[in-house]
Assembly symmetry: C2
DNA sequence: CATTCTGACTAACGGCCGTTAGAAAATCTG
DNA sequence: CAGATTTTCTAACGGCCGTTAGTCAGAATG
């Protein structure tokens, strides 16, 4: 019944939780900006106000730290979209879809370095880290499959659903390569994407 | 009038040109698979059958090598799309657009490690390399702007054109994250994306 | 065959990396 | 205030990195 058993991450001695959170925040920002390999623990620690070795009091390794950053990234956007769906339960399937697009994009571009770090770094992260994230990623895929199946109709083929998901999520995630808040607006872009989605007769 | 002045890259002494080409090919594959930072010159040289130092006979630095790989990546897909447009000059604007989507995606997924290396590595490559590529990238953007403006109509706003370009190119480039040739087909995915593009009345 | 040039090799450089063990500081507890 | 615990620091380890200078083999040239 010691502290490492019971409430491991939330109510440790307070200082540790604060440092841990700050490390995660800075790591997310750096991973988003530079990538995984280009984020050195010395630079990261310096921005937190620590030395590199001290990070190991909070995380067992760089891979473990990166895994946690990216897992948070998936969960944050997944929770935001899931929440948005519940919050507006009376919309048409098409409106739900557009709503989900908007929330996903807002989270990515404004709300969370974790989510953008996940998207940008996932392809280049070690296999073991990718494996750790597989479950969370699949859960989020399932959220989208539900939204898109409701839009396309229950008779739609699985592949049709998957391809539309790839196209839409790709159109959103690609914004990390070009979006400039001084010039672009999330809502305007969503309007442009939504124009590609016809009303579908519930036949 | 010595050989370094005249025909610098094409008709050098033959052996060098062959080695140079092989280095570029292997570098493109490794950059696509692993990323820029994760591609070490020692590993690269080993796969070519050389030692790391020998690479410097052909390229002045890792950055120069990466720049050339990525520039080729832009030019290969740009040339392929431009060619495809000329080759099928009598299609409707919408058909031209779908044609361009197909060629871009085929080049990316089947034809060229250079193009996929460019897309995957560009965000994480040093600033100097990004700067070198700016021109070629803008040229390719202009190709797409032309295609999409023809589709949307001359009265379309610039921003509308740009956002549709981002959405479509994003939907294609994102395929690097999920496409599996054992399961997916380029043509099938293009059909799915093309369904999002309505016929537009030339009003 | 002798010479010149081409192309690759060897061996090392300084530098940064992730990681670790143990000392030291800071904080909490009685 | 004394002691225990939590958190950070110091200093180093082995390892890999991009890069360079100097050497050397082999092909091309006369």
């Amino acid at each position: 019944m010691n502290k490492t058993n019971a409430a491991q991450k939330t109510d440790q001695k307070p200082k540790a939780a604060v440092s841990r959170q700050e490390i995660l925040l800075v790591a997310a920002r750096m991973m988003r900006e530079r990538g995984y390999a280009e984020t050195s623990l010395r630079d990261l620690a310096a921005e937190v106000g620590m030395k590199a070795g001290s990070l190991y009091y909070h995380f067992a390794s760089k891979e473990v730290l990166a895994t946690e950053v990216m897992r948070l990234g998936v969960e944050i956007v997944s929770d935001a979209v899931t929440d948005g769906l519940k919050r507006a339960g009376d919309l048409s399937p098409r409106e739900q879809l557009v709503n989900a697009l908007q929330i996903h994009l807002e989270t990515l571009l404004s709300a969370s370095d974790f989510s953008s770090a996940h998207i940008r770094c996932y392809p280049f992260v070690p296999d073991t880290v990718q494996a750790e994230l597989k479950g969370a990623r699949r859960d989020y895929d399932r959220v989208w499959n539900g939204i898109i199946r409701a839009y396309l109709g229950e008779e739609a083929e699985d592949r049709q659903v998957r391809y539309l998901r790839y196209a839409l999520v790709g159109a959103l995630n690609w914004s990390l390569e070009w979006f400039d808040p001084k010039r672009d607006s999330v809502s305007d872009y969503i309007v442009s994407v939504a124009r590609l989605l016809p009303d579908i007769d519930p036949s």
